[in-house]
Amino acid sequence: MVFIVVLIASFLLQMVLPWWIIVPVSFITCCLIGKTPKKSIWEPFFAIFLLWTGVALSYSLQNQHILADRVAEMFGLQTWWLILFVTALTGGFIVAVSGICGYKFRKTILTKVHVSHSSVNN
């Protein structure tokens, strides 16, 4: 569920807002519907990893990776798909952190009420 929500919300919101909107998207999603810590890390991670890979490829394929190759060289990397991997990985990393923080945030706030439940889940 988190995967789908983060994927779709991020796609739509990034059309009009800066990239960093994916950070609150992942935070809020996991805060509201993140089931386990593991899922709150990996689901947003893969959502953005896939989304960004897809969108980047849609531009880069039509360009035959001319620019991606040059930017890869700028970062000291050998070829275009390495810079694609770095892009998707960094994007995934930040939403993963954000997701787990969102999940933990809920748990911390809710600890007062459900002390025992939350400690089990933790």
Binding site: W20, V71, T87, F105
Partner: protein, 813 residues
């Protein structure tokens, strides 16, 4: 309480992370702002397949404009009035080159710190203190005074701004994303700044600081001997014997000299040959078709995006093709159906330093004409990214700005500036160069060409000309101060009114020649005239070898075609080697040579004196002569705290050939007495040793193409955005004056005639400034091979000669 604290931490971590990945640290771009595929660099990956037809609505046009992009993405603009032509030029140029235009004008204006931070501060100060903005403001007044140039600049500016306003964070050129800043609105001042920067590149040379030190150290006899007022060998631009059919003005007389010694921490540097260019035109009498042919290749620092932008402008009264400078309206070098024109630099002395005596440390008054004169001051506010704005106060005398009271430690370009001196520079004067190009673009005849040149101030250029009616001409053109001989060879005393510039050489009396008997005209930055020209332009110009080679070739050539002119532009034969090599070989004692040196000598024997990429002789010759010149002059001219320069190549060659026993060959730092053969041998030993150290034993790795390593770097040196190492021949003293990353920035040959012009050209880059575009550097391969593309002067948007990639219609509504 603890939970609240924990919760806060969970909130803060993602925010901090997002913030840090959205921020630029040092030279690292803001990582995720740059990498994310929605607004980051991926978005600049333009699709290679483009639609055949496209439309734009731009309400600032007056009527519909058609823009046809040919197979190299060169725009052919068809407008129905002047305004729309320049408006569309601005819009389309910005679409391809916005970041470059922005960056170059920021550089010119001393505003780089604003975007790259404190590391550019010293450079920014230099630009401001040299009066770049002051000069641009004066120029702007000149441009705005004339209704034609005013319309040009305003329409061009409006076009650029309409493009800038159409951008969003995703469509910004990629360099903005790397350096993390945004474009600001274009202004007419920026057009003026761009032209000032051309003056700075081409006409900011000044040796008077060094020459003054030499005069003080060696006295006037030695100075006159080693730094003569006319070269030993010369082949001037205006052929010897050309009559001056005018009555010259009275030239002011020279006052008694009283220079002051200048010291600083700077060391003498070996004189590097500056930026040069070639142009020539041959009349129909020498061509196969009977039509005149014109050729031009201006040499500049090569960069990506390229300094030039090809364009055709078609409007009522104008149909012109050529290269423009991104940031300035009109076409700078080009042709139309009637005429063709090109430029090379004139090394005119239009920059002088005046020693100023201030009354006290407040610098509010200075001595002038036996009294005290007030200074003015100009505040230069330099914004610095991430730091407080700095205000730099520059003192101005009536001569111009006092560039430095204390010089910066590490700014190479400031080396030749004497401290405490005021700068008098032609580029500070009100001017309107755009008008020259306005009239040339529309020119039909020799008279139109002559009229257009009268509007030109700086940087002075040799304007070569050919017309379809078979007139050819060349004019060393610019606004030249009326000087006494050698005025400004040394630093001048700023308190003596006799040292001021006293007027101008009338434009009609600038050195010029039309249809000379030899049936060709040419220039390669050498002396404008023989010594009989009644005015003083400068005491030293670029060395004569390139010009000599051009003239030798053109004299002997008959039945010239566009292709033979093309081949001549890549000619790498060295007259310098022809002149000096026999003397160097003669000075060597073969018995003293080791195996490598013997082989090197064999290579030199066999050399055809051409700087081919596959030859190893040029690698040896370049290093050998450079080291030899160092051996001859360094002991005398490198003295602590007294920066000087070496005598010229011409004078050194003369010394070697005519005076082999000269005392200058002795190294004064050793007790022994060295002779020319000692220095030649040491230089060869040094050359072979250092080539061996770097490239291994003598062999294929010593090839000139490898040793020279020509490449075209990115304008801001962003790694990955430049070209690879290119396999090119050529050298600075040859027609194909191509060194490591300086050389022919545009090659053009044009044949004019009744059937319309036939033209070919290329520059080392591409039309697009986007490193992601297939048109970013697509012309480099052709340029490297010395080949040219056909240039199409289209008659209408439907003209079928050009292969059309895209046709853009710009409508008002």
């Amino acid at each position: 309480m603890r939970n609240k604290f924990k919760a806060a931490i969970y909130l803060v971590i993602p925010i901090l992370l997002a913030y840090s990945l959205n921020t630029k640290f040092g030279s690292v771009p803001p990582i995720l702002k740059f990498l994310n595929p929605f607004t980051g660099f991926w978005k600049n990956s333009v699709a290679i397949k483009q639609p055949k037809k496209s439309k734009l609505v731009l309400r600032n046009t007056k009527e519909t404009v058609e823009v046809v992009f040919d197979d190299r993405m060169i725009p052919h603009i068809f407008a129905q009035n002047d305004h729309d032509a320049y408006y569309a030029q601005g819009y389309i140029t910005a679409r391809d080159r916005l970041w470059q235009m922005d960056f170059q004008t920021r550089y010119a204006a001393g505003r780089l710190s604003e975007v790259v931070g404190v590391k550019a501060l010293e450079l920014d100060r230099y630009q401001r203190r040299m009066g770049m903005v002051y000069g641009a403001e004066n120029s702007l007044k000149g441009m705005m005074e004339n209704p034609k140039s005013r319309e040009m600049v305003l329409a061009y500016t409006a076009g650029i701004n309409d493009y800038i306003h159409s951008l969003n964070s995703g469509t910004l050129p990629v360099e903005y994303k790397i350096l993390d800043f945004k474009p600001e609105d274009w202004t007419p001042l920026k057009c003026a700044l761009l032209l000032k920067q051309m003056s700075a590149v081409l006409a900011m040379g000044s040796d008077e600081f060094y020459m003054t030190n030499i005069l003080q150290k060696f006295g006037s006899a030695v100075t006159a001997d080693l730094f003569p007022d006319y070269p030993f060998r010369e082949d001037p631009i205006i052929p010897v014997g050309t009559k001056w059919d005018f009555k010259p003005l009275q030239v002011p007389s020279a006052p008694q000299a009283n220079s002051v010694i200048q010291t600083s921490q700077i060391k003498t540097k070996q004189l590097e040959e500056g930026i040069g260019s070639n142009n020539w035109a041959v009349s129909g009498a020498k061509t196969a078709s009977g039509n005149p042919i014109l050729a031009n290749d201006p040499h500049l620092n090569l960069t990506l995006p390229s300094i030039w932008y090809q364009i055709q402008l078609h409007a009522p009264g104008m149909n012109s093709y050529g290269v423009s400078l991104p940031g300035a309206p009109g076409i700078i070098i080009g042709f139309n159906a009637h005429i063709a024109w090109g430029v090379t630099n004139v090394a005119a002395d239009v920059l002088d330093f005046y020693q100023v005596k201030f009354k006290d440390d407040t610098h509010s008054q200075y001595q002038y004409n036996n009294g005290w004169k007030n200074t003015t001051s100009r505040l230069e506010k330099i914004k610095i990214r991430g730091e407080k704005t700095e205000t730099d106060t520059v003192i101005y005398t009536h001569h111009g700005p006092v560039v430095y009271f204390k010089k910066p430690d590490d700014l190479k370009m400031a080396n030749n500036v004497p401290t405490g001196s005021a700068l008098r520079w032609i580029a500070h004067d009100r001017s309107n160069e755009l008008l020259t190009f306005y009239y040339l673009n529309r020119g039909k005849s020799y008279q139109d060409y002559r009229k257009a040149l009268t509007y030109y101030t700086a940087p002075a250029q040799n304007f070569v000309f050919a017309s379809a009616t078979d007139d050819i001409a060349i004019t060393a053109n610019g606004k030249f101060p009326l000087k006494w001989k050698n005025q400004g060879k040394f630093i001048l005393d700023g308190s003596n009114p006799a040292n001021d510039w006293k007027g101008w050489i009338p434009a009609a009396q600038n050195p010029t020649v039309k249809n000379p008997e030899r049936n060709f005209v040419s220039s390669a930055n050498q002396s404008s005239t023989a010594s009989d020209y009644p005015y003083y332009i400068n005491w030293e110009f670029a060395p004569y070898e390139r010009g000599k080679r051009i003239n030798d070739r053109l004299k002997s050539m008959e039945n010239i075609t566009l292709d033979s002119m093309r081949i001549m532009q890549s000619d790498s034969y060295s007259v310098f080697a022809e002149n000096i090599l026999p003397a160097l070989i003669k000075a060597l004692d073969p018995a003293k040579l080791n195996a490598t040196q013997k082989e090197a000598l064999q290579v030199m024997y066999k050399w055809n004196k051409s700087y081919g990429a596959d030859a190893i002789a040029p690698s040896i010759f370049e290093l050998w002569t450079k080291r030899l010149f160092f051996n001859i002059w360094d002991d005398d001219f490198t003295i602590e705290n007294i920066p000087m320069r070496y005598p010229s190549r011409d004078r050194t060659v003369e010394l070697i050939l005519k005076d082999p026993g000269s005392k200058w060959f002795d190294n004064v730092r050793t007790p022994e007495k060295e002779t020319l053969p000692d220095l030649v041998f040491e230089a060869l030993t040094y050359t072979c040793d250092s080539l061996e150290r770097k490239y291994g034993p003598i062999g294929k790795d010593w090839k000139w193409g490898n040793v020279k390593g020509t490449h075209v770097p990115h304008l801001a040196n962003i790694p990955g955005f430049g070209s690879e190492i290119l396999w090119n021949g050529g050298g600075k003293s040859t027609i194909n004056a191509l060194s490591e990353s300086n050389g022919p920035s545009w090659r053009m040959v044009v044949e004019l005639g009744k059937k319309g012009p036939v033209a070919k050209g290329v520059y080392p880059g591409g039309q697009s400034g986007n490193p992601g575009s297939p048109f970013y550097r697509d012309m480099i391969g052709t340029w490297t091979k010395g080949e040219l593309y056909d240039l199409y002067l289209m008659n209408s948007p439907q003209d079928e000669r050009a292969k059309v990639l895209n046709q853009l219609t710009i409508k008002k509504k």
